[in-house]
Symmetry: C3
Subunit: 368 residues, 3 copies
C-alpha cells in the first residue's frame, strides 16, 4: 500500500458491562455434526455404549443411526456460546439443570441461543462479576422444523473491560424451556436379547445400588492433542491454543502454560466411566449441577469414579429406570511430602471435576 | 452420601484360568466404520492404493465406494477381541492364517466372535500360558444379512490372576470358516486403461520378481498421536495410554514408557510399502503368519522393506495374479559402539515387524 | 529366501533434467473428500464462515451442503501435484493466478493434471533450476461429467539428480483454462436476513475500507500434529515426517528439525483471518500471487493480519462485491538483542506468508 495503513484491532466477546438481564444472544455459526467430529470425540472419550459405536445396535433400539454421546452433544451446543458469553471470562463456575431432549445424529445442524438471567458485580473485586445465563440448543428437522436438543443454565465469572463502567445488575426468572428426553419406544416384538452381548452384562438398572462408589479402572493421559480438540469445537479461547501469549507473561496464566479446555475432561470423565455406569443407558436426562474444581494440563492422566446416589422408576416406562449419580474426575500430581490419603508415596490426588447426573438405564428384565 | 460408600472395583478382561477350549466369546460393542475413522487411519498409514483414496476409481473397478485398506479392516476387527482375549496379555505372539473376505466400506458395522482353540500353561513361568484363538469378523448386510469380512487365528501369552488356579489345558481343531476374498468381476467393456494413470505404473503382477527385496524409501515418525489412534480402535489397554501408571513403576513396563499398540506399526508398514507393492492390488488374500519383534515408542521412525517370495496365477482370474511377500518393518536406535551392518555410525537397525502376505494384483495386460 | 535377494531401491519424483516444456503429468491417486478430511482441516484452521460449518446455512445460500473452505480445496488439489513436481524441490517459490471454480463438497473426487510451462537452470548453482508449471484440478460430476474446481500456476526450485545432465530449458505460453467462480444465484424470495445472525455483522462488503490493515486477534500454536495433517493431504515429502533422516545430518535441513509443510500455515492464515475478513465471503476468486517467506516449526504460534488493498463491484451481481486483500502471516521467535519494532522485548517478529487474495463478499444491503 502506498502509505501507512490505518490499523484496526477488533474486540471479541463481551464484558461484564455489556450484559443486561433479559438480553438474548442468537449465537453465530451453528454446527453440523459430521462423521469426522463424531468419531474424533466419541473415540477420544473412550465411550463404550454401543449406541454410539454400532449403527446396527442403535437402529435396533429405535434410533435413526449412531447416537452422539451426551458429552459430545453437550460440547457442540455449549461451545457455540463461548464467544458471546465467556470469551472474556475468568472461570466457568457452575453448570445448572442441563437437560437433554432430542437425540443428536450425524448430519444434524445445531444452533444455540442464550438469555441473560442475572448479573451480579463482585463486592470484593471491582473488575469482576458473575453472569447467570440460560441457553437452548436446537437442531433443524427437515426443511423448516426444529427440535430442542439441550437446555441449560450456567454461572460464569466475567471480567469488566472498564472498571468504571456501570454494571446492569439484576436477576430475572428463567424461561420454561420444553426439553424432554426423547426415549425410543419399547417394542415387545423386537428381539432385544439378541443384542445383549454387545453391552456390559452388569450395568442394567437392577445392578446399581445406592450408597456404592465405583472406582473406574481406566486412566487416559492428555497430550497436546487438546489444542486441536478445542478448535474442533469452535472454542477459540486463546488460553487453550496460543503458547506465545503464555510465554510473554507466564505468571498471568494458571500454571504458566496452556490450560486444557474444561470440555475435554468433561467428555473424558463421561467416557472413562461408561463401561461401569452407562453401557446400558438409553439417554442422559439431566445434569443438575457440575463444576471444574482444578485445572488440567497436557501430560496429566485423568481418572474417574461414580457414586450411586439413588435410583427410581421412570413414569410410563416399565422397561427403564433412572439412576442418580455423582461423576467425579481426578488426577495425581507429584507432591513429595504433601501426599494425601488416596495417593501413593510422592503423589497427591487432585479432584478436577464433579457432575450430578441422572441417567435413564435399561432394565435387564426387558432387554437381556 | 451420608455415610462412607461401599467401594466397587471391577476386573476387566480374562486371565489364563478363565479360558477353556471350545469356549466362544461374542465380543462387545461392534464398530461402525465412519468417514472419520476411515480417513484417520487410511491417511495416517500413508497408503497409496487409489481404491482407498478415490471413490471414482473404486467404483470404476466394481466396488461400492472407497474400500477400507486391509490394515484398517484388520485393526477394526482385531481390536474388538482385545478386552475379552488379551486385556491381561503379556504379548501377542503370532498372527496366523489371517484371511480376508467381503470388502469393508464406510457405513459397515463390524461384529466379532472368538473361539478358544487351545490353552497351554508355561512350563517355566507359573504365572503365564499361551492361549490359541480363532476369531471371525462379520459385517451386517441390509436388514438381516451378514458377510464374513475376516477370519484369523492368533496365539497370545496371557497372565494368570491366581497362580494356584487350575488351567484347563487342551487343544481342539479350528472351525472351517468360509472366508473367501471378494474380488470384483473383470468387465471387458469397462475402460480400465483410462484410469491407469492414477496408480503406480510399475506395480502390476508382471513387475514382481521372486528373489528380490524392495527397500521402500519412505519413513514416518510416530508421535504421541498413537494414544488417540489406539483409542479410536477401541483398544483400551492401559500400557498405551496411562502415563501415570507407568510413572508409578517404570521398571515394570517395556522401555519404562507408554508402548505403541502393535496395530499402529502394522498399518503403517502396510502403508509405507504400498507404492511399491500394493498400488495395483485388488485385495489382500491372506497373512499366513506375522509377529511383532520389538516394541515401538513415540519418537521412533518406522521404515519398511518387502521380499518377493513367489508369484502364481489365480484360478479363474486371468486378469489377476498372486504375489507372495514378506513385509518387514524396522527402526533405528542410537547405539554408539553397538552398530550393526545395516545401520550408519552410531545407530543400530532393529526389526520390529514381519508379515507373510499374499496379495491379488492386477495384470498390466488387462488393466493398463 | 534361500539366497541373498537382489535389492531394489526406487527413485520417487522427478528432477530438473526430467522436465521439458509442454510435458503433461496426469497425477496419481486422486482424492475423495470425506467428512473426516473436511472436519480435520476446517476445524484445524479455525475458519468461521458458516458456509463451512453449518449445512443449513450453506443450503439456504444455494449450495448443496457444507462447502470446503478455499484453503482446504487448495490443499487437496495442490498436494496431488507434489510427488511428480516437487518431491525433489528445494523450495516452492511462488503461487501464481490461483483461481477457484466449482465449489468442493464432501463426496467429491478431485483429480489433477499439470503442464510444464518453463524450465530455467540456475546461473549460479549448477545443481538447481526453476520449473514453472500450470495445474488444473477437476472433480467428477455424476457418472461421467466433470468440473474445474481450481487452476493455478506456480514456480518451484528443483534439484538436478545429475549435475552433468542436460536441462531442457525454455518457456511456453500457459493454456487458457476456463475456471470461473461458481456463485449461487441471489434469490429475492429467500429470507437471507433470517440467517444473518450466524455470521459476523461487521464483515459485509460495505464494511471494508481500502488502506486499512486488520490485525487479527487470534494466534494458534502448531504442535507435532503437523505430521499427521501433512499425511492426510497425501504429501509424502520426508522433510515433514522423517525425524531419523533429520537426526542423521541435522545441518543439512532448515532449522535442523522437521519443517512444517507450507500448506499448514496457508490454511491456518486463511482461517485465523476469517472472522474479520471472510465471514460473509461467498467465494474466494483468485490468489494472484503468494509465497512462504520463512519456515515454520512445531511449537511456533501463527498470527495474521490483512491489508485491504481495494474493493470493486462484481459484474452482474449487485448483491456481491469484490475486496482485494493481502493476507500476511507471522510468528515471533526469541531473539534477545535482535528485537524488531513490532515485537516485545526479547522477541523478533518474522513474516512467514503473504497472499494476494480477491474475495467475493456479500453486501449488507442484500443479506442483512
Amino acid at each position: 500500500m502506498s502509505e501507512a495503513p490505518r490499523i484496526i484491532r477488533k474486540k471479541t466477546g463481551n464484558f461484564l458491562e455489556d450484559f443486561e438481564p433479559g438480553q438474548v444472544f442468537r449465537h453465530k455459526l451453528g454446527k453440523t455434526v459430521t462423521e469426522g467430529l463424531f468419531t474424533t470425540f466419541t473415540e477420544f472419550s473412550m465411550t463404550t455404549n454401543p449406541l454410539s459405536k454400532n449403527a446396527r445396535y442403535a437402529r435396533a433400539h429405535g434410533f435413526d443411526g449412531l447416537v452422539c454421546p451426551p458429552g459430545l452433544a453437550m460440547l457442540v451446543a455449549f461451545s457455540q456460546t463461548v464467544e458471546d458469553i465467556s470469551e472474556n471470562a475468568r472461570a466457568n463456575l457452575e453448570y445448572i439443570d442441563m437437560r437433554f431432549g432430542a437425540p443428536v445424529y450425524v448430519g444434524d445442524s445445531i444452533e444455540v441461543e442464550t438469555k441473560i438471567l442475572g448479573i451480579r458485580p463482585s463486592s470484593s473485586r471491582p473488575n469482576l462479576g458473575i453472569v447467570h445465563v440460560q441457553s437452548t440448543a436446537r437442531k433443524n428437522v427437515g426443511e423448516s422444523g426444529e427440535a430442542v436438543v439441550m437446555a441449560w443454565q450456567r454461572k460464569v465469572q466475567v471480567y469488566k473491560d472498564d472498571e468504571a463502567a456501570e454494571v446492569k445488575a439484576g436477576e430475572i426468572e428463567p424461561d420454561a424451556i420444553e426439553c424432554d428426553p426423547w426415549l425410543p419406544d419399547y417394542d415387545g416384538s423386537r428381539d432385544y436379547k439378541a443384542l445383549a452381548h454387545l453391552s456390559n452384562a452388569d450395568t442394567y438398572f437392577e445392578d446399581f445400588e445406592p450408597g456404592t462408589r465405583i472406582e473406574h479402572s481406566r486412566g487416559r493421559t492428555i497430550t497436546s492433542e487438546h489444542i486441536a480438540l478445542t478448535a474442533i469445537l469452535d472454542n477459540t479461547s486463546q488460553v487453550h491454543c496460543n503458547q506465545y501469549m503464555i510465554d510473554l507473561d507466564p505468571s498471568q496464566y494458571v500454571g504458566g502454560q496452556l490450560i486444557v479446555y474444561g470440555g475435554i475432561p468433561f467428555v473424558l470423565c463421561l467416557g472413562l466411566s461408561c463401561p461401569d455406569v452407562a453401557d446400558n443407558a438409553i439417554s442422559d436426562l439431566v445434569y443438575t449441577t457440575g463444576r471444574h474444581t482444578a485445572p488440567l494440563f497436557a501430560g496429566d492422566t485423568v481418572f474417574t469414579a461414580t457414586e450411586i446416589l439413588g435410583k427410581r422408576d421412570l413414569d410410563g416406562r416399565p422397561d427403564l429406570g433412572v439412576i442418580e449419580t455423582r461423576l467425579l474426575g481426578h488426577k495425581f500430581v507429584r507432591a513429595e511430602g504433601e501426599e494425601n490419603e488416596d495417593a501413593p508415596a510422592g503423589w497427591k490426588k487432585v479432584e478436577i471435576f464433579s457432575l450430578d447426573r441422572a441417567i435413564a438405564v435399561k432394565r435387564r428384565s426387558h432387554y437381556a
